[in-house]
Point group: none
Chain length 181, copies 2
DNA sequence: TGAAAAATCACCCGAAAGTATGACGACAAC
DNA sequence: GTTGTCGTCATACTTTCGGGTGATTTTTCA
């Protein structure tokens, strides 16, 4: 009658599993991870119960078997609980966005409007740039392959257009007006 | 002889506690929360065991007591495990540092280290600042109520210390070194 | 209190910077 | 083809700058 009992048990299990499936199908929008966790939990619980049942028959005769049984259950479920707890809290990573003001490297854009407004030519601006870098008229002349007098005329014109009396003042005004970086 | 035994026991406990204290003192930097958790866990475990012992004597006579016992243990330790797991899991808050380029108004801080390194005095720096603003030596002298010669000596010194040949170059170098805004 | 550092001023001289004026060629626009 | 702008260069002149030297006073600091 052993095989009959097994057959009945299987049928019983089959019915149960069908019912379970039907119930689960009725709740489709359930949180997936939660569902999975519960399923795994239930599965492990079932396995554990089975193991315990087996152990029960083995160890029930042994003295203090209840303590061993309880200890095993406690240890297993504690481990399971810890695992579950860790799993459940895993996606709880809080995102803190801390905005740090970064001194952006001053991206210089030439103020061409001001350039045209003052009627400063490209060449004159070029000379002004070299002046701002600290070059003397002679050095600028050598760098641009022109005479020192040419540099002087250009610089004089640029000073006049910037209303500057000195090259240092011209540089200062040029920076203020966005003509120099 | 009862009092003697008690005395010995107390002395023994005293020795033990002293040893324990010494050992604990040697390990001062142990993680506190971990310790607390373990202590709570152990305490609850002890209480639970006591409760179970009591229950054991009450329910052992009842049929299926082992199942009830195991279920209780399982439930309690599962709950405990979940709680522990939640506690143990670090508040996983991820800090995302997002650097946002903010056009921060150039907050100028004087590079005093460079100033001392080059041996530039306050007065010399002051003259350099006025030079950077485009003033002539005469104008600076008038502004500072000193003679033009004084301004010239100061500026000459500053040029020498900055390895500059011209005032424009001195201004440029001064800005590079963080001595001028 | 006494030496070192800093600030002040003066004089000279040469170099650099800046002004004024004129001129010439290239090139684009009208 | 005339006009205007731009870049180039020159001469002459004035102003400013920068180097060098020396000196005096004030401040600072040990």
């Amino acid at each position: 009658y052993g095989s009959r009992a097994i057959g009945q048990s299987l049928r019983y299990l089959g019915l149960r599993s069908l019912l379970l499936q039907a119930i689960l199908a009725k709740v489709p929008g359930f949180i997936n991870s939660m569902k999975r966790h519960i399923l795994i939990y239930g599965l492990l619980g079932g396995i554990l119960i089975t193991l315990l049942k087996l152990m029960e028959y083995r160890f029930l005769v042994i003295e203090r078997s209840v303590e061993i049984y309880g200890g095993l259950v406690a240890a297993l479920f504690a481990a399971l609980g810890i695992w579950l707890g860790l799993r459940l809290t895993n996606p709880k990573q809080k995102v803190i966005v801390r905005e740090i003001p970064v001194a952006v490297g001053d991206l210089f854009v030439l103020n061409e409007a001001k350039l045209n407004e003052l009627g400063i030519t490209r060449r004159e601006l070029e000379i002004l740039e070299w002046i701002a870098k600290g070059l003397s008229n002679r050095e600028i002349a050598e760098k641009l392959f022109v005479s020192e007098n040419t540099v002087k005329t250009h610089s004089s014109r640029v000073f006049e257009k910037l209303s500057a009396k000195r090259r240092t003042q011209a540089v200062q005004i040029g920076k203020e007006l966005g003509l120099l970086p």
